[in-house]
Symmetry: C2
Amino acid sequence: MVYTVIMAGGIGSRFWPESRKARPKQFLNVLGEATLLQNTLARMQGLVPAERCYVVTHERYVTQTREQLPALPPDNIFAEPIARNTAPAIAFAAARLLEQDPDATMIVLPADHLIRNVAQFHAVLRVALEKAEEPGALVTIGITPTHPATGYGYVQINHSGDLDDEVLRTYPVRTFAEKPNIATAERFLDSGDFLWNSGMFIWRADSILAQMQKHLPDAYEAFAPLYEQHDFSDEAVQEAYQKSPRISIDYGVMERARQVYLVPGSFGWSDVGDWRAVYDLSEKDAHGNALRNQVIMHDASRCLVRAGDRLIVLVGIHDTVVVDTDDAVLVCHRDSTQQVKNVVEYLHAHQLDEYA
Amino acid sequence: MVYTVIMAGGIGSRFWPESRKARPKQFLNVLGEATLLQNTLARMQGLVPAERCYVVTHERYVTQTREQLPALPPDNIFAEPIARNTAPAIAFAAARLLEQDPDATMIVLPADHLIRNVAQFHAVLRVALEKAEEPGALVTIGITPTHPATGYGYVQINHSGDLDDEVLRTYPVRTFAEKPNIATAERFLDSGDFLWNSGMFIWRADSILAQMQKHLPDAYEAFAPLYEQHDFSDEAVQEAYQKSPRISIDYGVMERARQVYLVPGSFGWSDVGDWRAVYDLSEKDAHGNALRNQVIMHDASRCLVRAGDRLIVLVGIHDTVVVDTDDAVLVCHRDSTQQVKNVVEYLHAHQLDEYA
């Protein structure tokens, strides 16, 4: 059977002051009427029923996850006692699913991405699911790049000539590349065989565990006993996480494994990485402003302004993000939104955790 | 005897959101540990005792004035039932003072200006007071201009050659000029005989009433009965204000009268006209930032940030004013602070008076 596993453990700090340790990005409504997590679950409708959708998250977010996803069976949350990056989270989920279904196939999805064209997304996933039935195969979704982005990792496939993303098919993966500088990103874009790394994976639970055993034995050995001994007690899970290395699935497994495949997709994807991305994805008025709640703009343009309970007034201000919350206000140039995470680091370093 | 009359009726809206209809500029602490009104009274110490200081203000500000000026005898507030600009306010104050002291000399001071060098200010006032003893003489203080300001009115004196403002003396006034454009302001500065109009006046109460009788008879006839009939009842004052034209003392009397004199002064004066002026007058850190309360600046410079109860964070922001209050936040370019008054007009015009 096919299962969705939503990875919702992130504590993303680039959406400060709306995102806080107690309310990370995936629980925020940054773009519309629902949160990113809610949208992630909702868009699986028609492909995987809610009963077969699971969320992996830190135990501190379990209540919030249940509140935001009333359609999700309450037990479909895998609570992590410690955040240890994606490889342990995936090992944990694979072990759990395998125990209940030796034939389990997982669609692993980040909880905080945007996808505009859900039908196309489903079509891509169907092709990926088919490939994932090959024993040992690890499949990822690559996003056909639209510009030389420096904020995404890239995946190079074995292919020459232009990609025709109208025809959905899989390609063998040659290599994974970290976030490039702009010159490299331009070269990637020109090459035609580099795609954006979406962080979405499709594989059989036994395939990923087998590959992990081979390429990331420390993590495998931490989580395999849970499955082998049918013991998913809090103590056993705690022990597994404590034993496990802190490593991403990309770095720990995908870059090292052989049977890695990619399905290219173009379905209006964004990882909604920072306030700038929210601005870009928002509907704008004639002055290029995206405004929420009570805002007055006087000679002000190309701004994202998210008022809370207060009136916000901008005068002679352009290309700026303003976000107001109960206890903090951010004013940030549109080109500096990546630096917001530094502010959160500063808060932690200066005994201002109450704001972090 | 010499009396101070502080004109505190302003409803200045350029300091929104800190200034509100219920709390205008003179009642704000924009520059230090005291409000502009408090500083105006305090700097008369040593020249005019508090018992001989009076405040003219709208009746809605009487309680606030008493609270801010505990040293002022509670009855030393002349409450205006209607705001009618400066000529009626001065006629009212002159009539009141004349009734108690036929020999009264008035030092008329705006409530919302900054003066750095109080000793020099007193020295200038002493020269003005001496001249004001001449029957019919109207004396004003002119500020030796330091740059071609377009935000001030100017006064031209009868004088040729450079002004030596080390030697304090009076000059006959030739003409008053409205706020000039930049080319005219530069010409004024080069001419050497144009000074900034400070809005400070020194005269005998009987002199200003006599000049008003001649040049602004409507206002005179509105207020003279109060004095002649010794009736300063609420009804009589109300009637006087209703009868009186709405006009400034500059336009109504000073520009028309003959015996008008000026003492030039250089005592670190500013009318603190807007947030830009507050920025210019504030102490700045190494990045040119003037910050109040809890503020974090990350790659941000040349800003004025006045936090209230909230944390304010600026990232990649320069030359900007941010003012946070309980119910409103202003983000304004440093060169656009004059437009803040337009925002207040907008609030009134759009049923947002609660914020005005």
